[in-house]
């Protein structure tokens, strides 16, 4: 260091480089990659430009058809559909809880020290998460026929992966000390889970469930578009008949539900933490 300072380069010839050459190259190639991806997508995606330029006009037209809102439609149809959506979301969340608990335990390698079982559980969880709730709904409408049953099972199937993954990670982060103390006291596997793991992950568990419930309320409002019950079914009917004033009422209802949901969730989360 000292010798280096003595032989410092002459003042006027120093050029400042923000990055080294390797850094520059990797950054440049990343930007290039992003640029190429965007340009390729832009150039080959099928966009009918006339439709795009026409969009503001169409939106304005739609807006004018939405006004005035058809408020009497709410007590007539929307309210029942809203309750159905709420039931779908809540029941789906409860079912997913029942299914996710064993899978999360199987996926956590510190509770289930068996690589095969871990892999099996993790694959199930990934499969559940990768398939969208709307796709799940499509499948279950084919199985159970249209209606809220398909929606509930779809919500449950989609949520299992989410809850199971997060809960499994929470279980794996439980410090080993408290578990080893229980083991030393001769606790069985069952009581280790009940008295060692469960108290440690309880807050995380409830906050995951709340988060998922919040998401499920939003998601179940669209499941009806493929016939799985709830608000989406009412919306689909209104759109097919071009009753935009009714669509607007449904949109307003969804917005209100989301806002109320956010308030409720915030309240509960504050109580939990």
């Amino acid at each position: 260091m000292v010798s280096h300072e003595l032989t410092a380069t002459p003042l006027m010839s120093r050029v400042w480089q923000r990055h080294t050459l390797a850094q520059k190259l990797s950054r440049l190639s990343l930007w290039l990659l992003i640029g190429v991806a965007v340009l390729l997508s832009l150039s080959s995606i099928s966009v009918i430009w006339e439709f795009l330029w026409d969009a503001p006009e169409q939106m304005a037209d739609m807006g004018s058809r939405m006004w005035p809102l058809d408020f009497p439609y709410y007590p007539a149809t929307v309210h029942a559909a809203l309750l159905e959506t709420f039931h779908i979301a809540t029941l789906g969340t409860l079912f997913s809880m029942v299914l996710a608990l064993p899978l999360a335990i199987l996926a956590a390698h510190n509770i289930t020290p068996h690589a095969g079982l871990n892999l099996f559980a993790k694959t199930m969880l990934v499969a559940s998460r990768s398939v969208n709730s709307l796709v799940w709904a499509l499948l279950f409408v084919a199985v159970f026929g249209p209606g809220p049953l398909a929606g509930t099972v779809a919500i449950a199937c989609r949520s299992v992966g989410f809850v199971g993954k997060l809960l499994g990670e929470a279980l794996e982060e439980v410090p080993r000390g408290s578990i080893e103390a229980l083991k030393a006291a001769g606790a069985t596997q069952g009581s280790q889970i009940l008295y060692g793991y469960w108290p440690a992950v309880k807050p995380a568990f409830w906050s995951i469930m709340l988060l998922r419930w919040d998401i499920n309320v939003r998601e179940s409002s669209v499941l009806g578009l493929v016939g799985a019950g709830g608000l989406g079914m009412a919306m689909n009917a209104a759109i097919d008949l071009f009753q935009w004033d009714r669509v607007a009422v449904i949109l307003l209802t969804i917005f209100a539900v989301v806002v109320i949901g956010e308030v409720v969730i915030t309240y509960f989360r504050r109580k939990l933490i």
Binding site: M1, H4, E5, A8, L11, R14, W16, Q17, R18
Partner: protein, 252 residues
């Protein structure tokens, strides 16, 4: 010597009815290091921050080189700020940027935003930055990230950043309070010598009396939002210190 900075009747209250500054009158000449001393909570930090308007003043005027800066805003304020360098207690470097980039931050007031985003700094600024790195003894640290430096090194970078502005006045808000005694002396030496070399006044706000006596050309003592001593360090007596800090148990 002519007056560079003139403060008249300055008051400040963060909460209505609880004044922090109760009428400050001070003039600063074009040379020399002034130490503002006082216990914490007497408003000396507020005073320094009002000068470059990080804090808005209450009543009173602050005239800097013939220009009243107490009510300016927008572009005028930015142009004023770039003429005044500031050194902070906790260095306030941008942690994730390199030392060089932190130094160049001092030139942002002179650079268009577009050039700033593209990091197109004039070669002259970069050379100036290298010269300052030589001065503060961190020539080999140009490309190190600021969060890898020690406290003393960071504060030297903080001073260099302020000097990058080629300021006409240098402010330092408790520059040594987070440092060990030896490093504190080095930082004070740097502030003093740079003030002299660049022929600019330096205002340092501090609570270490010995350090102030050793380096200052003038000492301003504050208590309860008022100036209670203003003069040469040699004239500062224990009676003054009792007045400034209250009590006497701490005086040996």
């Amino acid at each position: 010597m002519s007056v560079v900075l003139s403060i008249q009747g300055l008051t400040k209250a963060y909460k209505p009815g609880v004044p922090v500054l109760k009428g400050i009158d001070l003039d600063f000449d074009e040379r020399g290091l002034t130490a503002i001393i006082g216990s914490s909570g007497t408003g000396k930090s507020t005073l320094v921050r009002i000068i470059n308007r990080l804090v808005d003043p209450g009543d009173g005027t602050i005239v800097f080189k013939g220009e009243d800066l107490s009510r300016i805003h927008g572009r005028q304020l930015r142009e004023l700020r770039r003429r005044i360098g500031m050194v902070f207690q906790e260095y306030n470097l941008v942690e994730r940027l390199s030392v060089m980039e932190n130094l160049l931050c001092g030139r942002l007031g002179y650079l268009s935003p577009l050039k700033a985003w593209l990091r197109r700094f004039p070669q002259e600024d970069i050379e100036h930055a290298y010269q300052l790195l030589d001065v503060i003894g961190l020539s080999n640290f140009a490309n190190q990230r600021a969060d890898s430096l020690s406290g003393g090194q960071r504060q030297r970078v903080g001073i260099a950043r302020a000097l990058m502005q080629r300021p006409e006045l240098l402010l330092a808000d408790e520059p040594t309070s987070s440092l060990d005694p030896k490093t504190s002396v080095e930082i004070m030496e740097l502030l003093k010598s740079q003030g002299e070399d660049n022929k600019i006044p330096v205002l340092v706000n501090m609570h270490d009396v010995e350090l102030a006596k050793r380096f200052a050309d003038r000492i301003v003592g504050m208590t309860g939002g008022r100036v209670v001593f203003d003069g040469l360090p040699s004239r500062l007596t224990d009676d003054h210190l009792k007045l400034i800090y209250g009590g006497e148990g701490w005086l040996q």
